[in-house]
């Protein structure tokens, strides 16, 4: 009984508050009328609650459908496209007094990949260098080539095999050479003259990854076809065959072991054996072995890189030309002053076979990443030729590169 009285009084107060002073002059509602108002409001609250629940359910369903569609779209995209490129400006002066002032679209590369199923995929890299070529191959100083086109199979979780055109697993930049990943407008000269990057080959390879951060690669592939006459005689870089009806009289073998078991550290060594580096017997350039080793150590903003590569080539003619031992090394230190800006210095010493391929070179400069996939590079280079000061080169380079 007390509760009923209290309720009625509360209802009366609530009604007076709700109706306000403007209604003060109106006749007071009866208790029965107030009770009906309260019941009506209660009903409205229940309806609103139900509506809110329905709205929540609708939003939930919409979210689920949208997420499902996003997930389905992700699954459907089995073919992927990517790429990278770099434009260079070189402003150099040679010891002979010649100026080299050039702007060059050094590389324009597109990747196309396709996943046939979870264990089988296709990887390709299509490259246009130095702006391309004319239809008859003249005028433009460029190349159009397939740098990678292979099918890879996962044998199990640790082991994969691939067949096709792929990059030789040697050195630092041959496999990873997107411009934002390294310092300097031009790649280091050791991985140009001694390791002929980008070094493409055709064949088959197997790769094993182990849980302790060790990986091993073994490949059987087309060999080099180094010329034995002319201005580029015994020059390793001129022996790349581009997998265009590549002579395969004498195959080559590559083995690499890499350790990345400590964050920031990479140690790797490669042995490449050419059964005949000129693909012709009796021409004085026979079996050859390349040994490379490199280390990368990254700690916070500091990174150190060092690489050594050495060719040992059998044959009387190549020995007479003083090309039977060709080697080089570089050491590089870099420091990121900010997450988007870093400076570097590199010392290179290379001993190739041609007069112009024997020099010491210092590079210093900076990289600025306006976006993590875009880089602007500026560097100064000073090349001191071992044979003649006419072949000395110094000057600066500017470049812009990207990857996606």
């Amino acid at each position: 009984m007390k509760y009923r009285t209290l309720l009625r009084h509360s209802a009366l107060i609530a009604a007076l508050t709700a109706t306000g002073l403007s209604h003060a002059a109106a006749p007071a509602p009866t208790l029965e009328e107030l009770w009906q108002v309260i019941q009506k409001q209660q009903k409205q609250i229940e309806q609103l609650k139900k509506k809110t629940q329905q709205t929540d359910a609708k939003v939930e369903a919409t979210g689920e459908i949208l997420e499902q569609r996003t997930a389905d779209a992700g699954k459907a995209s089995k073919t992927t496209i990517g790429g990278y490129g770099e434009l260079h400006y070189n402003n150099l002066e040679t010891g002979a007094g010649d100026d080299i002032k050039e702007i060059d679209l050094h590389r324009f590369v597109l990747y196309f990949g396709h996943e046939f199923n979870e264990r089988t995929r296709f990887v390709s890299e299509f490259e246009i260098e130095h702006g391309g070529v004319q239809a008859d191959g003249s005028t433009l100083d460029g190349e159009v080539e397939v740098e990678q086109a292979y099918v890879e199979f996962d044998i199990n979780d640790q082991l994969s095999a691939k067949g096709g055109v792929f990059l030789v697993p040697a050195g630092i930049t041959n496999e990873t050479h997107e411009p934002p990943t390294f310092y300097g407008v031009e790649r280091n000269p050791i991985e140009n003259i001694i390791i002929p990057s980008t070094w493409v080959t055709g064949g088959a390879a197997i790769k094993a990854n182990f849980a302790n951060g060790i990986s091993a690669d073994f490949a059987v592939h087309s060999g080099l076809e180094v010329p034995t006459t002319g201005g580029s005689a015994f020059r390793i870089r001129s022996g790349r065959q581009k997998i265009s009806n590549a002579v395969a009289n004498d195959l080559a073998y590559t083995a690499r072991v890499k350790y990345t078991g400590i964050p920031g550290l990479e140690l790797a060594g490669t042995v490449n054996h050419q059964t005949d580096i000129s693909q012709q017997s009796g021409d004085g350039a026979d079996e050859a072995t390349l040994l490379t080793a490199h280390a990368i150590w990254n700690r916070g903003p500091f990174t150190a890189r060092a690489l050594y590569a050495h060719w040992d080539i059998d044959g009387s003619a190549i020995k007479a030309a003083d090309g039977d031992k060709q080697d080089g090394y570089f050491v590089e230190g870099s420091y990121k002053l900010r997450s988007d800006f870093g400076i570097f210095a590199r010392y290179n010493d290379v001993d190739g076979v041609r007069v112009q391929d024997e020099f010491k070179q210092i590079d210093v400069g900076f990289n600025w990443w306006p976006n993590e996939d875009v880089v602007v590079k500026v560097d100064y280079m000073d090349r001191d030729n071992d044979n003649t000061s006419d072949r000395d080169v110094d000057g600066f380079n500017v470049g812009i590169g990207y990857q996606f």
Partner: protein, 169 residues
């Protein structure tokens, strides 16, 4: 014959999806010792969208993100593309610090090193600065730059999202 059997076992062990190291449900189960709480959903509303976009470097692909929370701990299963394929990562945040990070599914053909403990253990104990970066730099892996970047982004994202839940108090 025994050698052949071993070889066949080796070749047929591919029934496991490529690079699936732990199913997401199993990870969540492990985190909560076999009795995970009911999953909650955090909506990426307009107020969160800007920071999430800044952390990922692109707009989020999902309207809401599922998570599991208990006391001051939340667990997340997040995905981010390394080079071409999404990497699925399980993350646990406790007291606003990374407690655990594990690559659950790795689909890329390069950068596989990021799934190993020797790499992921450097995330443990890291928190978020006021500018949404990690309190310590992560040492990268040469040749796995994009995978390292993906894991770093996801750890920042998990820490930020944790702050938006009732479990961050």
């Amino acid at each position: 014959m025994r050698l052949l059997t071993i070889l066949l076992l080796c070749l047929t062990s591919t029934v496991m999806a490529r690079g699936t190291y732990q199913e997401p449900a199993s990870f969540i189960n492990d985190v909560f010792q076999g009795s995970p709480p009911k999953a909650k959903r955090l909506w990426i509303t307009k107020s969160l969208r800007g920071t999430v976009t800044e952390i990922l470097g692109h707009k989020p692909s999902s309207l809401r993100i599922r998570y599991w929370g208990k006391d001051t701990q939340t667990a997340w299963v997040l995905e981010e593309i390394g080079k071409e394929k999404p990497i699925t990562v399980g993350l646990v945040v406790r007291d606003n610090k990374i407690q655990r990070i594990k690559v659950l599914i790795f689909r890329e053909s390069r950068g596989w090193e990021v799934r190993h403990d020797f790499f992921t253990k450097q995330f443990k104990g890291l928190a978020l600065t006021s500018s949404q970066t990690l309190t310590k730099p992560i040492d990268g892996i040469s040749g796995a730059t994009l995978s390292v970047r993906a894991l770093t982004k996801l750890s920042r994202l998990a820490l930020y999202l944790h702050q938006q839940t009732d479990f961050s108090k």
